[in-house]
């Protein structure tokens, strides 16, 4: 039995609206587990149900075998990090972090030692006696993290902790969160709508939409082997082929002509650009097209190519410094067979075999 088990969690807000619809997930000890999805997908509702701030309508939550729904939130021993930091403005940094140790009756000396250790972990030792009000968002969130982990909770919950920070700090702090979590070896559930963040930080990701689970898996699984069109679309970028004769020709030539797919897609970085006329190659198909737009981004370039299966974006890594393609230039786009992803009318992935 897993460390944290959520079974058939359902949250009914109004008679017609279910924020959660029979969601089941499990998290192992020491695992970094991320709930990923767009706003309104139910990820925060699930997190708040685990924390105890709102109860489920139906379902079970157990932590190390005990029924969490019977435990009031302040006795659950679950640390929480908030999107708006929720740092207590009337307490100093030290007092903020020590706050959770008081109800745990930790002796004075030990309390001091643990707070100092926690502050050192988040690199705030120098600011211990300061008031948090004037501190930056990054520093305030560090206080929030130290405050949640100093109580050595059984589970650490983080509700979009980085979404109010600027991009650079977000990357820096997510690495730190990841390191801290591994260092103290705690089960963590992390909520985010940022797919890159989820990929970077997680052991496993649970992609949610409309109150249900789309897919649970490792970052590599989620990105490289999405099981639904929603996941493929939400995590990373996606080219969708236009249905028609050209697509049928393409599919036939890679011997997928008799596979009944509704939507065929491919990741932009899996396409290869070649100069001149189309030519077939071993396990793929070459589409002929015309460059519409060339966007240079430094470490990569995006080329928009008009083809018989619609406009496709091709990502080129390490583009040369010399000028790239120009609009109107004829090119061919190579489509490797194994990179094609087909989905049925319900958005489920179709197996295409070797």
């Amino acid at each position: 039995m897993a460390y944290l088990m959520v079974e058939k969690a359902t949250k009914q807000f109004t008679p017609t609206f279910k924020a959660l619809d029979e969601v089941s997930v499990s998290v192992e000890k020491g695992e970094f587990f991320t709930l990923l999805g767009p706003s309104g997908c139910g990820k925060t509702t699930l997190l708040r149900a685990i924390a105890g701030f709102s109860d489920l309508t139906i379902g079970n939550i157990t932590l190390a075998g005990t029924d969490l729904r019977k435990v009031p939130p302040h006795q659950r021993d679950i640390g929480m990090v908030f999107q708006d930091y929720a740092v207590f403005p009337h307490l100093s940094v030290f007092e903020n972090v020590a706050f959770g140790l008081k109800p745990r009756k930790v002796a004075e000396a030990e309390r001091k030692a643990r707070v100092e250790e926690a502050l050192a972990t988040v690199r705030l030792s120098a600011l211990a006696e300061r008031m948090p009000a004037a501190m930056s968002g990054g520093q305030q969130q560090r206080i929030g993290i130290a405050r949640a982990m100093v109580i050595k909770p059984r589970l650490l919950l983080m509700d979009e902790p980085l979404s109010n920070l600027d991009a650079k700090l977000r990357i820096e702090l997510r690495e730190e969160i990841r390191d801290i979590q591994k260092q103290i070896d705690i089960a963590a559930i992390y909520v985010t709508h940022d797919q890159e963040e989820a990929l970077a930080i997680s052991d496993r990701i649970c992609v949610m939409s409309g109150g249900h689970v789309e897919q649970v898996g490792s970052p590599q699984d989620i990105y490289g082997n999405p099981q639904t069109l929603f996941v493929a679309n939400f995590v990373g970028t996606l080219n969708k082929f236009k249905n028609g004769t050209e697509l049928s020709r393409l599919l036939r030539s890679v011997s997928l002509g008799d596979v009944a797919g509704e939507t065929w897609t491919i990741r932009p970085e899996r396409l290869v650009l070649a100069d001149g006329a189309a030519e077939s190659l071993g396990s793929g198909f070459a589409l002929s097209g015309t460059v519409r737009k060339y966007t240079y981004l430094g470490r990569e370039a995006h080329v928009l190519v008009e083809t018989g299966v619609g406009d496709l974006v091709v990502h080129i890594s390490n583009p040369g410094r010399s000028a790239g393609q120009h609009a109107g230039e004829p090119v061919s786009v190579l489509v490797p067979r194994e990179a094609l992803m087909g989905f049925d009318s319900a958005g489920k992935r179709i197996a295409i075999g070797g």
């Binding site: 302040h74 929480m80 949640a148």
Partner: protein, 546 residues
Amino acid sequence: MSRLNFWSGVAIFTWILLALLLLLPVGTVLVSSLYDPAGDFTFGNYLTFLTETRFHRALLNTLVVGFGGLAGALLLGSIMAFCVSRFVIFGGRFVSLLAILALVSPPFIGAYSWIVLFGAGGLVRSGLREIGIQMPPIYGLGGILVVFSLKFYPYVYLMVSGALSNVNRSLEEAAEGLGLTPWQRTFRISFPMVFPALSAGGLLAFIHAIADFGTPRLLGRGYTVLATEAFTLYSAEVGSNMSMATTISVVLIVVSMLFVFLQRYMSRRNVYHGNMINKPIRIRLKGWRNVAAHVAVYLIGLLGALPVIISIIYSFRLTNGPVFQPGFGLQSYARILFNLGDVVRNSLTFSVVAVILIVLVGTIVGVYVARRTTLNTSLLDAAFMIPYVMPGIVIGIAYIAIFNTGPIVLTGTAAIIILSIFIRRLPYAVRTTASSLRQISPSMEEAAISLGYSPFQAFIRITVPLIIPGIIAGGMLSFVTAINELSSSLVLYVGSTVTMPVRIYLLILDGDFGTAAAMASILLLLSGVAVYIAFRFLGRNEQALL
């Protein structure tokens, strides 16, 4: 379960309080206006109101002083707000202080100070007569409007300067880039942005102007308004006509209600929020424009604070009976100390007790209203609007009407004055608490709960410390209104419960301005201390005074 019971208790307690102190008295006013003195049901009072020219005139005059006060306050307030927030004015903080002085001084003191200067035997008028300039005395409509404009301009000034300093400068720069002249920019960009504040401040001036009793009483000289008519009818020793007084009260409530709702509508409407990356800067004017801006600002500020300055100076003048003598001394203060100590004590006791009640009840009800959104709290919120539209004189008359006979007799007690202050100011405390609670992110308490504190402990240890500064500041500002309250106390007082504003009013009627000035100065000092404490807790936030 126990929490549920606690809040149900709060709900029941609040409704009983409202019913007893507000709905019942006001309902009695409504009902009593529908009976003639003999006790028969009639619309006769309203018929009388509609037919007698005396009442027509009072209603018309009320609207005239209301709109006149509104216009004057708008003119002075917007000039001052524009100059202070757009130009570098030497001593800008001092100017704001002058506006606060005008705001916290009792209006009838203003009226009397203007009489001292420009009345029949006024100083300035006599001085001017000696050099051959004849000037009409200040009595009548003109005088009332001068006093109202100078007394109520701070409402407009504080609201508009707040709004002006929140207009993103990029907007004006964008307009400039599009080729608008400075005048066009002001009228087509800045003006629409501050219009809500402008109209809200102006209507606030209107509401206070029509409820004001002291100024038309002292300066009117036959210029009657609804508030003074109601008081005359109520207080006439022979032929006191309670039902007609209540009829006028109802008319006053209706007029007041109309404009309170207009004011609330305006202050909600078209409030533009923008990012404040590009804060407005103050321009340093040069030459005559600079002089003009400074003269305008200081003229308005000093004239508004003039009554206060006059009172303070006159409080130190030597007197012989009511007649001023050359020289200065502490005579007037000594008179207060030896003869009128009980009046000061009354005022302090009543205000302190009222404020303690306001803070206690207001905080609990505020938490209830903010934390539990139910039909009940929405109804409560609406019921708390009623005191906003009640002119003090109406509350006074209503309390006399209900607590004179019947199961609860409070006439002539300290309790009736305290309760009248309490109910009028309670809504402010409820709203202050509710709005400061709504500003605290719920995740603050959730964080404490996740760290192992029960919900109640989390509330006590996190939320309470965070809202206490606001509560103390709100209490201090309630104290200012409580201790300056005249119109309801004037109806409710008896010999042993005279308060400072009532005594000042009576002293002025007796012509003893020296003592009145000294007492007004003490009142001002107490108000000043309270405002200072409030600002210590809130930061300097003049808008909180509105």
